[in-house]
Amino acid sequence: MELKEVIIEKLNGTLKGAVLEVTDFRGDLCLTVAADKIIDVCTFLKSDNDLEFNMCEDVTAIDWAKRKMRFTMVYHIYSLKNKFRLRLKVNLEGETAHSVSSVWASANWYERETFDMFGIKFTGHPDLRRVYMPEEFEYHPLRKEFPLLGIPGSIPLPKK
């Protein structure tokens, strides 16, 4: 049995209803996961002895602008044991997501970056602060309504 089938079968066996959709585009497996099950799915994928997805490569988000569920969270995880890369997606109802930094410590700063750029709040995150933009900045630059050149005067410059 191929690894892709093993992943899907194991997830459907232990966590019923967690995986909403499976796509396999040009060899890249992508699972859409229910928003409230993401921590369970991640914990299982990391701790299962056959899968061992022990590396969290990236956490980011997509802003769909006018879609009803506006934001989608994207997780890229990798299994060093199987040399296999997997993408997880979560469609968010609002602007709040569950933090997976308790599963992979490296997700901590990725989620801070996602908060900085998209304004998505992570419940259970130990230290949700901005990474790139100044702390007093009020906007989230990668949101679709944010103008490319920024908002004049929103970041103070030193006096001439």
């Binding site: 490319l148 410059l157 030193p158």
Partner: protein
């Protein structure tokens, strides 16, 4: 030849103190290399033996602002970095000059975006702008020669009370 010939015939020359000081000053400009990104590589090339900034008396790149007269801002200045650049500029003793090296520093360049300052003249008094991405070493040498031109025209009274005024104190 020039000055020496004069000395053998008369033994002395007459000039003004302002002119002597300006002449000395323009031939010993110590740059503060504010190398923020890729322009800094070209700035290093200027200091190497091929282009040799030492010919203009500017071979001592000082990494301490307190020992420099000229700030070469070489690279993209973001809003976050602008506070640091300004702080270092404020630490330099008067008189001081600024070269905006390259497209990013002068106008924001190709970074037409929310995080990059669209020209450092929004928070620094720039004396010479340099075009190019990055500018050729010759271009930076030309900028330094422009600075030397500016310095040679200065007089002592141009700098009087300047530090006090910049720090926000009124003239007593």
């Amino acid at each position: 030849m020039g000055l020496e010939a004069k000395l053998t015939s008369d033994g002395f020359i007459t000039t003004t103190i302002d002119a002597v000081i300006a002449w000395a000053r323009k031939n010993s400009v110590w740059p503060m290399p504010m190398g923020i990104s890729c322009c800094a590589i070209e700035m290093m090339a200027v200091a190497d033996p091929k282009y040799d900034l030492a010919r203009f008396g500017s071979e001592v790149m000082r990494f301490s602002p307190r020992q420099s007269d000229l700030m070469i801002v070489a690279g993209t200045v973001t809003y976050k970095m602008s506070k640091v650049v300004r702080k270092i500029y404020d630490q330099m003793p008067d008189p001081k000059w600024v070269i905006a090296m390259g497209a990013c520093t002068s106008t924001g360049g190709m970074y037409r975006t929310y995080s990059v300052v669209q020209g450092i003249d929004q928070f620094l008094p720039v004396d010479v702008y340099t075009a190019g991405c990055p500018p050729r070493p010759e271009n930076l040498i030309n900028a330094l020669m422009e600075i030397q031109d500016i310095i040679s025209k200065t007089r002592g009274r141009d700098f009087q009370d300047k530090p006090l005024l910049e720090m926000g104190f009124s003239k007593q």
